[in-house]
Symmetry: C2
Subunit: 317 residues, 2 copies
Amino acid sequence: MTYGMIATWRMAYDGVAEMTKELQKGKDAGDALVEAIKQVEDYPFYKSVGYGGLPNEHCILEMDAAYMDGNTFDIGAVAGIQDVKNPIAVAQSLSHERFNSFLVGSGATKYAKNAGFECQNMLTERAKRLWELRMEEIQKHNLSPYDGHDTIGAVSLDIHKKMVAGTSSSGLFMKKSGRVGDSPLSGSGFYVDSEIGGATATGLGEDLMKGCLSYEIVRLMGTGLHPQQAADQAVYQFAEKLTKRKGKAGAFSLVCMNKSGEWGVATNVEFSFVVATEHEAAEIYLAYPAENQTTRIEIASKEWLAAYETRIKKPLD
Amino acid sequence: MTYGMIATWRMAYDGVAEMTKELQKGKDAGDALVEAIKQVEDYPFYKSVGYGGLPNEHCILEMDAAYMDGNTFDIGAVAGIQDVKNPIAVAQSLSHERFNSFLVGSGATKYAKNAGFECQNMLTERAKRLWELRMEEIQKHNLSPYDGHDTIGAVSLDIHKKMVAGTSSSGLFMKKSGRVGDSPLSGSGFYVDSEIGGATATGLGEDLMKGCLSYEIVRLMGTGLHPQQAADQAVYQFAEKLTKRKGKAGAFSLVCMNKSGEWGVATNVEFSFVVATEHEAAEIYLAYPAENQTTRIEIASKEWLAAYETRIKKPLD
């Protein structure tokens, strides 16, 4: 009767806390994951996912999402979808299709509208103002425009031994129109096999897709490694390899959980995440890269949480 | 001074034959691969790639392509691009970008136009007629509309020890608008590491992305397996696993080459491919699944080749 959920970033807390209670009662891993991610998509102050997400270079919000069923390997995904309230729900729905289960651009948006998913303007006044402020900064200081890529990624395990992985993201702030990161890409943004475990990623999508790290972590868990060992080995070895070959590696943060509810995390930057299982109440943690390709994990302090709250709601000029 | 190129389907022959001669003279693996794939994109009688490719449900030709550099892991990709003569060249160009290297839908098309890539109407009269005939068949016989998904995928190795992988496809005939298969997805449609080797896939994209088979073959070659062993192990084990979990597995065909120019292929359907290396002139082969998770490979007969030629140029009503 094991169950649990792990997800990227502090923003996942409310959904994970609520949905692990439902998992305990027998809720399906997929429905619990979708509900948890919807809460992040719906909250206007999370500026990298769903409503309130930051727009592309033309001030248009384009979103990516994916859903994978670890029993059947069925995958549904969307990229560059617009005006849809819950991209994760569209991805879940597409996962039931044998063909045409990954849709992009206007085709994805049309599918969602025709299938009756709730549509709305997803660009908030706050997101628009942040875009304007960033445009001014870029012009004034000749900055690289790209910043921010905090995908919500989650892995859930239900008492029926089903595991599911999912992601949702508005992608890189100021991205070019049509840009896609790792979030909707199987093996890179997510991967799950109910007989082993699941993993999901956040960070610089362009670099994450070079390593297929979600697949690699699941594969390593399948060889018998503890999720923490699997995450450490996959993430730090690839970050090192990429740095050697290319001179640098973008931000990589991955979380994973195995079929027993054990979990792991690895990251090359400061990274917050949330986990709850049968044995552990929902908690917000911080992770940091540590010595010898390991990860340091601590519970987020009250000060950190307060500063986060202030930062995301900071009044804008 | 090893060099070589392997690619999916008989249609790859002319490009592979010509470009391995250039590889012998020192041509870059990436430029050789792009030239080889361009020849397939440009030939009007290959109905699953580029000009002459079969359109989606609305009779619009949407194309996918990807390019990966095995030295740096740089990836460029497009999905759902329209009206662009050579999607593979756009993917190669995008691989040089640190951000925004995977573009979809109208964003991809606009990028290509603005970057000066040659644009043209890619829908031939023959492809349009095939679409009309198929629509009639579907209505008459209540058929599943989806058919045909012959991606050109190639791996090349140059005398400078650089390896590159690339794909180009018009995707599933009669696909929904915006549908994307495995071709532009790292790890699924292609993967390459110059210190190990590369692999690329063709088949039912919706199922190929469930297995990350290109990544897995490269990983297995990295453990010391011969490419043929790596391909057999990855493809047949995953096809079996998927059949067990889902009840069925779509068509999977993968080719691979290692850094020594040794190659392999595995497939669960009849599958033609082309390979040329320092030691072997360009040849068209047929591969079939055989006993005990192995692959039977034979040189394509004159009769097979003649029947192919007749089939692709068959007059239409």
